[in-house]
């Protein structure tokens, strides 16, 4: 029943997409400045039906309608309602439907909100976006249909992987999808701009809101994923340079570069072709990431039960996308002459782009090298975190410095005399760093440099905030928040990395272990029955001999029955200055439990700083509204 409704709706959307393309092509040739009303109507219907389609699937999950294979494979009647709903996008087919939803919604919103722009440009954008929609709809129907029925109807579902039953992971995919799939709209717009010749400043204005929205959501999505990894995977780290994390970083680098050079295009009407490249690249990288993850080529946390035919389809689609964008780009490419003064803001923005390109290439090489080597020589390797750390971290030093100084330069040519200010602030940063070095511990030369530049950036932005308050202008606020967030992020990650305490050991119930100034007492274990799992809860008393404080931590081992899996839940005591982190595991019912104990300084500040980066983007979005 639901299966038929769902498939019917998908077909409706498919037909609507075709008719939108048809009408739009027809409308291109007619004179007049306005897009025909019926295109708006069709587009509205398309959006409504796609959303309905998604709701149909959600209803299937809520009612545990196991006549759908997708629900049967990924849900279970005993699952809490929240995770039943989240299960909708927690699997390949459902997430693809969400993907299509975002493509369609963005397509409609772009059509409606950009009514001041050139008609041809908007129509072309609509056409390209609908071609993308069609591509993914066919993929959905032919290969990954979430509405496929199963007969006879099973009585019980297989359940959702317990590790995914988590609030952070329930919102992580939708956030990332808005971020990654949202890029599609300026991919289409970039192609439309090339075809219609509607470039320059006006083009920049038409896409900038969309770039910001997708940037914000990408950033948020990555942060939420990272938080999840921190408390769920039980390593106590938050970034592992896992291939999938890398896949999410690639578009983020491209989009961050895009966001910056877009300002140059808008203000100075130059760098048009570079902006186009970035627009195309961002979405291409998003799809590449999806391809690598869904095809099972990369293996990691996210490996959906993989299926090579999926990979082949996405790969075909991806090559088609890349090929057509390359053809269109080089057909329309004209040489632009740049005349940038070294001491101008545009030069610094270009510097940002270089750094982003460097980070992007590094991560890309680290990610793809093992795949190529495996295919070519059958040697199996993996590229570990040290590679990324060694290549990327040194570059962060000049990056932070330029991030502070760059925005203070004016456009075109600037006579800004800020040398003494820079010197003064560097000196202050060195002094603060010396304090940290002297009182808290020693670290390497490179770490010193990182700390100094991070503090320099923070100080510099503090002065910017003072200036902002004096001027009473909010214009610079988003930039300051985001950059400050980044400076703090680097600083706190540095502190966290340098001063973390980590110890692995095995302990019996009742045992005591001393580490530094901590004393860990394994008091007891309790067993608790929950709705969909059984929990073994350990009670640990942590005595800090330095300040005689006592903390209790209770990590869990959860035993899920549908499907049969164990998960280890970390116990985390978050405080302003540090997190106490303890995980416990048990192998083959041994009397010894394996314990990992960590004290991680300023953990919460890492999250706060990361959220500040995203917050800057959101503030900018609200500012723009107020100005109009």
């Amino acid at each position: 029943m639901l299966s038929n409704i769902g498939i019917g709706l998908v077909f409706l959307v498919l037909i609507l997409s075709f008719s939108i393309i048809y009408k739009a092509i027809f409308n291109l040739e007619t004179s007049g400045q306005f897009i025909k009303k019926n295109i708006y109507t069709l587009s509205l219907f398309q959006t409504t039906f796609t959303i309905l389609c998604f709701f149909t699937l959600i209803i299937g999950f809520i009612n545990s309608d196991f006549s759908l294979i997708n629900v049967y494979e990924n849900s279970h009647t005993t699952k809490p309602i929240f995770y039943k709903i989240a299960g909708t996008w927690g699997n390949h087919e459902g997430s693809l439907l969400l993907w299509v939803n975002i493509l369609v919604i963005f397509s409609y919103l772009f059509l409606v909100f950009n009514h001041t722009h050139n008609k041809k440009f908007r129509l072309y954008t609509l056409i390209f976006q609908n071609i993308l929609i069609l591509g993914f709809l066919f993929f959905l129907l032919l290969n990954s249909n979430p509405f496929n029925a199963i007969y006879p109807i099973p009585l019980e579902g297989l359940g959702l992987n317990p590790i995914l039953q988590d609030p952070a992971l329930a919102i992580h995919p939708p956030l990332l999808y808005v971020g990654f799939v949202g890029c599609s709209i300026y991919f289409s717009a970039a192609l439309a701009s090339l075809l219609s010749g509607y470039g320059g400043k006006l083009f920049a204005q038409s896409i900038k809101t969309w770039v910001k929205i997708s940037w914000c959501f990408q950033t948020l999505g990555i942060i939420v994923g990272s938080i999840w990894a921190y408390y769920e995977l039980g390593w106590g780290g938050f970034w592992f340079w896992d291939p999938v994390e890398n896949a999410s970083l690639l578009p983020w680098f491209a989009i961050t570069a895009l966001m910056h050079s877009l300002i140059v295009l808008e203000k100075r009407n130059t760098l048009y072709f570079w902006v186009i490249i970035l627009c195309l690249l961002t979405f291409i990288l998003s799809v590449t990431g999806t391809f690598l993850v869904r095809s099972g080529i990369l293996n990691s946390v996210h490996t959906f039960a993989s299926d090579p035919s999926r990979g082949i389809y996405i790969l075909l689609f991806l090559s088609l996308m890349i090929f057509s964008s390359l053809v269109m780009f080089f057909k329309k490419y004209k040489k632009e002459t740049y005349n940038f003064n070294l001491k101008s803001r545009e030069t610094f923005i270009l510097a940002n782009n270089w750094f982003m390109a460097f980070f992007l290439i590094t991560v890309l090489i680290g990610m793809l090298y093992p795949i190529f080597l495996d295919v070519l020589t059958n040697v199996k390797i993996s590229v570990g975190p040290p590679f990324f750390n060694i290549v990327i971290i040194p570059l962060v030093v000049p990056f932070l410095f330029l991030m502070a100084v760059g925005p203070k330069f004016g456009w075109i040519k600037s006579q800004n005399k800020i040398l003494h200010k820079i010197l003064f602030l560097i000196l202050s940063a060195v002094v603060i760093n010396l304090f940290i070095f002297y009182f808290f511990g020693k670290y390497s030369f490179l770490s010193n440099l990182i700390f100094i530049t991070a503090i320099f950036l923070i100080l510099y932005l503090a002065l910017d905030i003072k200036e902002l308050i004096n001027k009473k202008s909010k214009l610079e606020l988003p930039r300051i928040i985001s950059h400050l967030g980044f400076g703090m992020l680097v600083f706190f990650i540095g502190i966290n990395y340098q001063f973390s305490l980590e110890e692995d050991f095995n302990l019996k119930v009742g045992g005591i272990k001393k580490i530094d100034n901590y004393e860990i007492n394994f008091k007891n274990i309790k067993i608790k029955e929950n709705k969909n799992y059984k929990a073994v809860i350990g009670k640990f008393k942590i005595i800090n001999n330095k300040n005689n404080s006592v903390q209790y931590l209770d990590p869990e081992i959860r035993i899920y029955s549908n499907p049969d899996t164990l998960t280890y839940e970390a116990a985390i005591k978050t405080r302003i200055t540090s997190d106490l982190y303890l995980t416990m595991s048990n192998v083959s019912r041994s009397e010894y439990y394996n314990i990992k104990f960590q004290n991680k300084p300023f953990m919460i500040w890492i999250w706060i700083s990361a959220f500040m980066i995203a917050l800057g983007g959101f503030v900018q979005l609200t500012l723009k509204k107020n100005e109009h």
């Binding site: 490996t303 290439i361 590094t362 993996s382 095995n506 280890y568 416990m584 192998v587 041994s590």
Partner: protein
């Protein structure tokens, strides 16, 4: 005679060229230094040139009944059904670590029969098998 503008541009290009060369060199060099090779117990037995102590990965199935735990560490045997290797590890294990399941250990070789692991890799799907291990098992099953 070159004008100042042209001169600047040439300087700039040379600078960029130089910079990209160093960047690429730097990336490739650290890439080669930080590769982790994956080996099966059989490969470790057979290869003459295998380095001791250098970071690498070993994978296979955890042998039934081989897990022992004491105060300091966990020891278990990884097998590819031809050869086996003893792994010693201290820390929490991933949730899917169990006897007769695939596991990948990251660490260094002490000798050809003994491996000290820094990390046991977590795989988050009960049906999932690391492709490396799958290959080995398929090969030995034949």
């Amino acid at each position: 005679m070159l004008t100042k503008k042209v001169k600047n541009r040439i300087l700039f290009l040379v600078f960029v060229f130089f910079l990209s060369i160093t960047a690429v060199f730097f990336i490739i060099k650290s890439l080669n230094k930080n590769i982790l090779y994956f080996s099966s117990p059989t490969e470790i037995k057979q290869r003459e040139d295998i380095p001791f102590g250098k970071p690498m990965r070993v994978g296979g199935m955890v042998k039934k009944g081989s897990i022992t735990i004491n105060e300091k560490n966990i020891q278990f045997i990884i097998t590819d059904f031809e050869n086996e290797i003893l792994i010693s590890y201290s820390g929490t294990v991933p949730n899917l670590f169990a006897e007769e399941k695939g596991a990948v250990a990251e660490g260094g070789l002490r000798d050809k029969n003994f491996f000290i692991a820094e990390r046991i890799l977590a795989k988050h799907d009960e049906n999932y098998m690391p492709p490396e291990i799958k290959d080995i098992i398929e090969k030995n099953a034949k």
